[in-house]
């Protein structure tokens, strides 16, 4: 039996989605002529501004394309479901947003994305467009702390994109934008948990199996297995386990400031997310950590997967400044 989806044809789902996005957000984004998988901000390019190109597989909406807009990403290269975009749309995005000050690629650390974005960067170099890359590696479940460069990028993308987009929007130098992107990534820690699988539009079959009372800690945002599988726990126990692991890495001190993201992987509703957040807030308060801002909702999803992730973004003055910088995107506004 196939899973139920409101689609027309699995093979056309991504392109039809993009038509719907363009129809809904004409003031924020456009598709490049001849390159429909290149979604570019209305206001881009801006001369002298570092261009920020994000991208990755589809199925994580509002990540990545929802973060295209003023003050955040200038363009997004859109891949098939859970598949990196090929180099072409990435190249077109970079050309379209190049303001002469360099183009920054920021995306999640996955083999496929790295190969495709690197191929794009090589080809852009031949056109004298300077590209630098900052990979997001916030998923603390995906490799030990001393191998941070091997970690996946998951919901914490949100904070890295936000900081980087702000830096670019403020016309900081290429070096500064890159430095801030790396710092934002270093300051971001995420872990997720999955309760039920999603299914790809092309197969409409659950992409993994979980026992009726099981959950998977550390689940990736494409249904890749996480770190441990065990019986379903309470919201408080899940929040505690995640916060404990994040604290173990972030090593917070009293008086620290953080921003929080409690993210649904798809079908976990706001009620459950806010219950998680109530525990997160309590843990932060108990540790003497100040919460500067909190986002709760669907920010980095895996289609209709059930589950959630918690991200802490440790702030210093600069990162807080970037976080508070206003942005106005297709699917996200802040500041």
């Amino acid at each position: 039996m196939q899973t139920k989806k409101l689609i027309n044809d699995g093979a056309k789902a991504v392109d039809e989605m993009l038509l719907g996005v363009l129809a809904a957000h004409p003031r924020h984004v456009r598709a490049l002529e001849g390159s429909p998988r290149s979604i570019v901000a209305r206001h881009a390019p801006r001369p002298g501004k570092v261009g920020l190109v994000v991208g990755g597989g589809s199925g994580h909406e509002p990540t990545f394309l929802g973060f295209v807009g003023k003050g955040l990403a200038d363009a997004c290269a859109v891949g098939n479901v859970f598949a990196s975009p090929p180099p072409d749309p990435i190249i077109e995005c970079a050309k379209a947003v190049n303001g002469g000050a360099g183009v920054l690629f920021t995306y999640g650390n996955y083999a496929g994305d790295v190969m495709n974005f690197d191929m794009a960067a090589e080809m852009l170099a031949m056109d004298d467009i300077e590209v630098r890359t900052v990979l997001t590696t916030d998923d603390i479940a995906s490799a030990p702390a001393d191998q941070r460069h091997k970690r996946r990028g998951v919901a914490g993308n949100f904070f890295v994109f936000k900081a980087t987009g702000a830096a670019c929007d403020r016309m900081l130098s290429f070096d500064e934008c890159e430095r801030i992107a790396r710092k934002a990534n270093d300051h971001t820690f995420t872990m997720g948990v999955a309760l039920a699988p999603c299914s790809l539009p092309q197969t409409r079959r659950p992409n993994f199996e979980l026992g009726e009372d099981e959950m998977e800690m550390g689940m990736g945002i494409h249904g890749e297995p996480g770190v441990t599988r065990g019986p379903l726990k309470s919201a408080d126990a899940v929040a505690d386990e995640i916060i404990d692991r994040i604290f173990g890495e972030m090593v917070p001190s009293r008086g620290d400031r953080v921003a929080v993201l409690v993210n649904s992987l798809g079908s976990t509703p706001l009620m459950e997310l806010y219950i998680l957040n109530s525990r997160v807030a309590q843990r932060l308060a108990d540790a003497g950590i100040q919460t500067h801002a909190t986002w709760v909702g669907n920010y980095c999803t895996s289609l209709e997967m059930a589950g959630a992730s918690i991200t802490l973004h440790r702030l210093d003055g600069e990162l807080q400044d970037m976080l508070d910088h206003p942005c106005d995107c297709a699917m996200f506004r802040a500041g």
């Binding site: 598949a83 090929p86 083999a111 190969m115 091997k150 970690r151 249904g223 890749e224």
Partner: protein, 213 residues
Amino acid sequence: MTTIDTARLVAMFAAIAADISADRDRLCALDGVIGDADHGIAMELGFAAARDAVAGLDPAAADPTTIFNTAAKSFLNAVGASSGPLYATAFMRAGAAVKGKAELEDADVVALFRAMAKGIQDRGKAEAGEKTMIDAWLPAAQAMGDAAGAGTDLAGALAAAADAARAGAEATKDMIAGKGRSSRLGERALGHMDPGAASAVTVIEAMRRSLAG
């Protein structure tokens, strides 16, 4: 000894596409266990695009290099993902390896396999034993070269390549992954065949049938 003309290569891409399409759901299921469940989709899309693109070339004007370069480009743009750059690079290197030839002779087929394996390795930086498609492609290319070097005919060499690919894919079950999505799984990847190695067996087997005169 017969040579392989562009029509045979076009037919080869059609054969791979057909076999991969038939294999799609198994490959997705394998990828579901240790990855993101889309490998069959990516491969099906990629080879369907390659098949259509090479079928659309003017057979009179196209040489083998054009065939492979066209396949590379269309595969890449249809897929992205990991498979896209890996197979696209494999085909670009295949195209370079047979540059200037109008038809392929036995030795060219050996070179082609070697170039494809090398291309995948250059692009993905995977070593043997890291539980990737390389663990099917490297032994296949190696076995093919060894067999040809030992005087085996093309059909025999291709059969040796296919056997080696199968054994290599089987061996990925006992590996911990060093590259790709499953590299974050550690021991949990043990016991499961790498989907990219599994699809490599299907690709190589279809190539064997198409190229073994």
